[in-house]
Symmetry: C2
Subunit: 413 residues, 2 copies
């Protein structure tokens, strides 16, 4: 009998009523002839509540991280218990496991641990006995028995890891959306739920803040060839299947989706001497402050001085500006300018590889709408532009329409 | 260096501010030259909140008990983490442990497990390294790694067990009261906090609902000769020390305390034929319904018929009445009568052993106040009477005064 791993996130298990709906969904999958292994997150905002208790203690030294994991991992423990009882009540044998009880073995990097190994013996025994194992996501245990957690997207990672070691037919990630869309349906009316997408594309979309799946879970699934499906816990639609490109039988669309994020700010150090090591002198102090830098652009002017521009998350803008002003003095730069009213928009698609002209068409569409491009960066299957935030919706709609993403089998015109 | 085990209950750790106060108390004990091992309960009403989630699922079959323990044990996990971080913040090394991490090994009787063994290796290593181990009370793990809990009073039991295996100098139970009182200070103004009391007396008081300590923890401490101290987490008074009688150097008071409980109801089957096995015929169906029976009185009248009276907890009164009415028909008894406006009052003291006349003086005092005694039961160191609830305060005050309990070195007049 084929094994399906089903993962239900916080909004899907926010109350006992929600949990009953989740239990029904699991039973439906069993009736369809599958063995089900379940992974759940903490209920609703529970992780935030626990986190705020830790904030209140206000001790964030390295040595506190072990205790943060003890704290946060308690949230999932509540859900596995309630879901197991609910399944039993519905006549289905079930058994809960914390990460430590399964023995999801990790390193000792508390709050961002990496999985080393998963013991499948209890899971196999349960599956053979017709019992549904219900596993706490987001958590494991190190070789000394300390509780560890995996950081953001941790429950997705647990689900993918279990699917990998159990050689599951599919790893299903249940969310509060129907699947992966061509773009944000809240912004573009014609946004369409994709039937399939490649890991590579999903990775680009995930890291661009489409929010459905964490990049880590996607790359984990890709590495272990685990077919991943994103679907809604609130209806019965098939959702979006994420697979390897080579396994995909569909005709490959050129563009899969348009992703965007407003969580952006741009900083420029103006009039920098173009000497070796200057990028490190500017970005070193920024990354020392744990500020993540995304896009970086440097262009050299005729007078051998350069403007150095990069983007950071918006909440890091003030701190980054402060750091840069000091750096600018040290390296004798002219000034520091910035803008935190920008947004990043990206078009993603494996079809770009074999189709030239996507970038030029994209720039044409934006030009037609009089939208100024502030920065550009590209990867093999992605083109990203930074634009003024106020044009974001306009740009997304214009591109979605120009590339005909609302139609399933569209080709580049 | 001597080891002191300190246990802090839910009200003592109800918030981060409370937890800071607890941490200060622990540091004070360390400054006094002790190694401290800490046991904590879930914060405030957290166990009740978790329990109500289980109620909502509404599945109470035997097989659900394993999951109930997974659920409830998450509460203490939050406290150990927050307290450990708080101790670290105050410059004291600390480390949290769930019951399973220490390896408090229990049987598999979920929701009411019994401790079989405690592994002291991690605790000893921490103590030797100057680290304060902070242990989740109320929970352990069975030989298969399933989480178990100990039922009511479970955290006290954890503390006593740890004190026993570590041969601690003292096991200190911090509560929201100053210690063990001669009687309820809310009812009798002159109620006095006792300096010392024997395990035997404490057991009688505990099982009579004085509420400070659970009988199980007391009998556990008595069995393993662990000196137990009840004290307040909100002030610095020394509280009440509970020890073995033989170790006690104090002049033994005749009466240690007066305990009472209003959680009582009385049922009488009137006109029962006095034949062998009749008690079982009446009480069998009652205990089959999981109703606990406390005092039992049977007196045979001249006509060989008998009235059979017993007490139950008040919330079991309605159900017990229903059961008895059916039983009365089956055994051809005359009728069933009852009263749920009664209370039980008990005088406890090891000094009773060597002093006759305590009972008669007690009855005299009640008679002087025109209080009718409905039932009487005695043990070697206790006399309990059932009276009408409305006379309870009057009885307690009259007896407290007549036996001069407000004065430390009182003797029977």
């Amino acid at each position: 009998m084929s094994i399906v791993v089903q993962k239900f996130g916080g909004t899907s298990v926010a109350s006992v009523t929600h949990i009953e709906r989740v239990a029904s969904r699991i039973l439906k999958t069993r009736r369809e002839g599958h063995s089900v292994v379940v992974v759940v997150s903490a209920m609703g905002d529970e992780t935030d509540r626990l986190d705020s208790l830790a904030q209140e203690v206000d001790y964030s030294q390295q040595e506190a991280r072990r205790e943060i994991d003890v704290l946060l991992s308690s949230g999932e423990q509540v859900t596995i218990s309630l879901l197991s009882m609910t399944l039993m009540k519905m006549g289905c044998r079930a058994k809960s496991y914390t990460g430590g009880q399964i023995r999801i073995l990790t390193d000792s990097a508390f709050t961002r641990a990496r999985i080393h190994d998963v013991d499948t013996s209890k899971l196999r025994a349960d599956i053979d006995a017709g019992v549904v194992p219900v596993i706490a996501g987001f958590q494991g245990v190190d070789s000394e028995g300390n509780i560890t957690t995996f950081g953001r997207g941790g429950s997705d990672t647990t689900a993918v890891a279990l699917a990998a070691v159990l050689e599951a037919e599919e790893c299903q990630i249940f969310t509060d959306v129907k699947g992966v869309y061509t773009t944000d349906p809240k912004v573009v009316e014609g946004a369409r739920c994709l039937e399939k997408i490649t890991f590579e594309e999903m990775l680009e979309l995930a890291s661009l803040g489409s929010g459905v799946l964490h990049p880590r879970a996607v790359s984990f699934a890709s590495k272990y060839h685990v077919p991943l499906r994103v679907l809604s816990s609130f209806n019965d639609s098939p959702g979006t299947l994420i697979t390897n490109e080579e396994n995909s039988t569909m005709e490959q669309a050129i563009i899969s989706g348009i992703a965007f994020t407003r969580d952006e700010a741009k900083l420029t150090v103006v009039g920098v001497k173009d000497i070796p090591g200057i990028a490190f002198k500017i970005l070193g102090p920024v990354s020392d402050a744990n500020i993540e830098v995304d896009m970086i652009v440097q262009n050299v002017a005729a007078d051998k001085s350069t403007d150095f521009t990069f983007t950071v998350r918006r909440h890091d803008y003030a701190q980054a500006t402060k750091i840069l002003k000091k750096v600018a003095k040290d390296i004798d730069a002219r000034e520091v300018s910035g803008d935190n009213k920008i947004a990043k928009l990206s078009m993603v698609g494996v079809g770009m590889r074999s189709h030239a002209g996507v970038a030029s068409k994209m720039f044409q569409v934006l030009a037609d709408e009089s939208i100024n491009i502030l920065m550009i960066s590209t990867s093999e299957i992605r083109i990203s532009v930074v634009i003024s935030e106020k044009y974001l919706e306009l740009a997304a709609r214009a591109l979605h329409s120009a590339f005909d993403l609302a139609n399933e089998n569209s080709e580049l015109a």
